[in-house]
């Protein structure tokens, strides 16, 4: 369920690092808890993301939730497909539903994130 090569936050975001860039998104557990997602507010390209600060938000039928940046750095790309097709976040949260790519400014932050096994344990506890 939760890819081994990802890192996770306690707030249910994920980051997948390739070189000095991290693709980020929300986890399967997060999208399931939110329910049908109808709108995604993406960050702007060029924005300086700061770990733990708001990166964007997702609106489900029921509620709005902030997405927090799992890592710090510059946003270099956002997933424009989510503007027209927000339900990608429900359908494929760890793949086609990615939110943004961030050029890492402090790669050491990754050490404080959860690995797949730890995240799985967290989710098991919450549900």
């Amino acid at each position: 369920m939760y890819p081994e090569e990802f890192k996770y936050t306690r707030e249910h975001e994920w980051v997948k690092v390739e070189g000095d860039v991290g693709a980020v998104g929300i986890t399967f557990y997060a999208q399931q808890a939110l329910g049908d997602i109808v709108y995604v507010e993406l960050p702007k390209v060029g924005m300086k993301a700061e770990k733990g600060k708001t990166l964007g938000s997702v609106e489900s039928v029921k509620a709005v939730s902030d997405i927090y940046a799992p890592v710090s750095g510059e946003v270099i790309e956002v997933n424009e497909a989510l503007v027209q097709t927000p339900e990608l976040l429900n359908r494929d949260p760890h793949g086609a539903g990615w939110l943004a790519r961030i050029r890492l400014s402090s790669p050491e932050e990754l050490n404080n994130l959860l690995d797949a096994e730890q995240y799985q344990a967290l989710v098991a506890e919450e549900s």
Binding site: G35, D36, E59, V61, K62, A63, V64
Partner: protein, 369 residues
């Protein structure tokens, strides 16, 4: 959340088995969704959906003085009800604010059955007792009923398979005491979705079986068990008030556009004097519907601006799954509450444009029998 403190309906285990996600609502642990709010919402609009709404409260008023008490504590004209008829009504404080909204069913000349909101039921009961100078018999009856709502254009067909009662003879806002699945049931053609449908009141021990049988009977139409999430989006599209949102103790009927359930000429009732004063002074705020002009979603409690001034607040807002737009209801100063006005909603630190519109947002198509 201390789960032990929450009340559960007799269908709790069944909801879990059906894959429901449970949430706290008004002191109850209730299903918010099963397959997904949008899917459930659309099932009700297009075919049929089934809700456990046993958290709702029931109060029974009996005796020769029952009509006098009902007429005194509610705003609509209960004396005009025929036996087997129901009406939407309200209970007010002396100051004119809402105690609750409710359905009044006339079971017999000396027997009225009230369906009230879950989180208000104890308060409602005390309110009625307080004004019971008529010595009517008032019973808090919530523990004697489960309530199931079968809603949607296919509801009559589905329920028809499980009852010998002639459902076509039950007109909108009427009810009859019959049987469903061989057990006694009060069958009312009422609902909170904007669709045709039925609300069933049964003894708690029959709830699970009747819920299962209804799901089976509705299978071929694609029936869905539906949670409170879809119940809320459905009622919002149909512009039905929700206590704690459109109405509460600080809101009076004319402000909520609910004058149609207040019969000022029927004689004395609790809150009447305050409403007379309000009419003389003029109503200063009004509830009005709006549609977002972009894809932003307005939520309950967001501030509403007109020409840069914060002048109101959103009472209910969210996506309208059937209409495929984002809608809401808000209070505005009465002189600004007109259809076709551009307003701004304060959405998490920025302003989003919306347009005030006619309501209900959704009205079901008229069908010929």
């Amino acid at each position: 959340m201390p789960a032990g403190a929450l009340k559960r309906t007799p269908l709790y285990e069944l909801h879990r088995e059906l894959g429901a996600r449970m949430v706290e609502f008004g002191g109850w642990e209730m299903p918010v969704q099963y397959s997904g709010i949008i899917e459930e919402h659309l099932a009700v609009r297009r075919a049929v959906g089934l809700f456990d709404v046993s958290h709702m409260g029931e109060i029974e008023v009996r005796g020769p003085e029952a009509p006098a008490l009902i007429e005194y504590v509610t705003t609509n004209q209960a004396s005009r009800l025929s036996t087997g008829q129901a009406q939407y009504s309200a209970m007010l404080y002396q100051h004119g604010g809402f105690v609750d909204d409710l359905l009044v069913h006339k079971v017999a000349d000396d027997y009225y059955f009230l369906c009230v909101n879950a989180s208000n039921q104890e308060k409602d009961y005390r309110h009625i007792l307080r004004y019971n100078r008529f010595r009517a018999e008032v019973e808090f009856a919530s523990d004697r009923y489960v309530q199931l709502a079968l809603q949607g254009p296919r509801a009559e067909e589905v329920l028809g398979r499980l009852t010998a009662t002639d459902l076509t003879a039950i007109r909108y806002y009427h009810f009859t005491d019959g049987e469903v699945c061989g057990v006694p049931a009060r069958i009312a053609r009422t609902g909170y979705t904007g669709e045709d449908g039925f609300e069933l009141y049964l003894a708690p021990r029959h709830g699970v079986r009747v819920f299962r049988e209804l799901l089976r009977a509705g299978e071929e139409f694609g029936i869905r068990p539906c949670g409170l999430g879809a119940r809320n989006t459905l009622r919002l599209e149909a512009k039905m008030a929700l206590y704690g949102h459109e109405i509460d103790a600080s809101i009076r009927p004319p402000e909520a556009e609910l004058n149609w359930i207040v019969k000022m000429d029927k004689g004395e009732f609790v809150g009447r004097a305050a409403l007379e004063r309000l009419a003389a002074a003029g109503v200063r705020r009004k509830l009005i519907g709006f549609e977002m002009l972009d894809r932003t979603v307005a939520r309950d409690g967001y501030p509403v601006y007109v020409q840069g001034r914060a002048v109101g607040w959103v009472t209910s807002g969210g996506p309208a799954p059937y209409l495929n737009k984002n809608i809401g209801l808000c209070y505005l100063p009465a002189d600004l509450a007109e259809v076709g006005r551009t307003i701004q909603i304060g959405v998490r630190g920025r302003l989003a444009e919306a347009l005030t519109v006619r309501t209900p947002f959704y009205r079901r198509p008229k069908t010929n029998p």
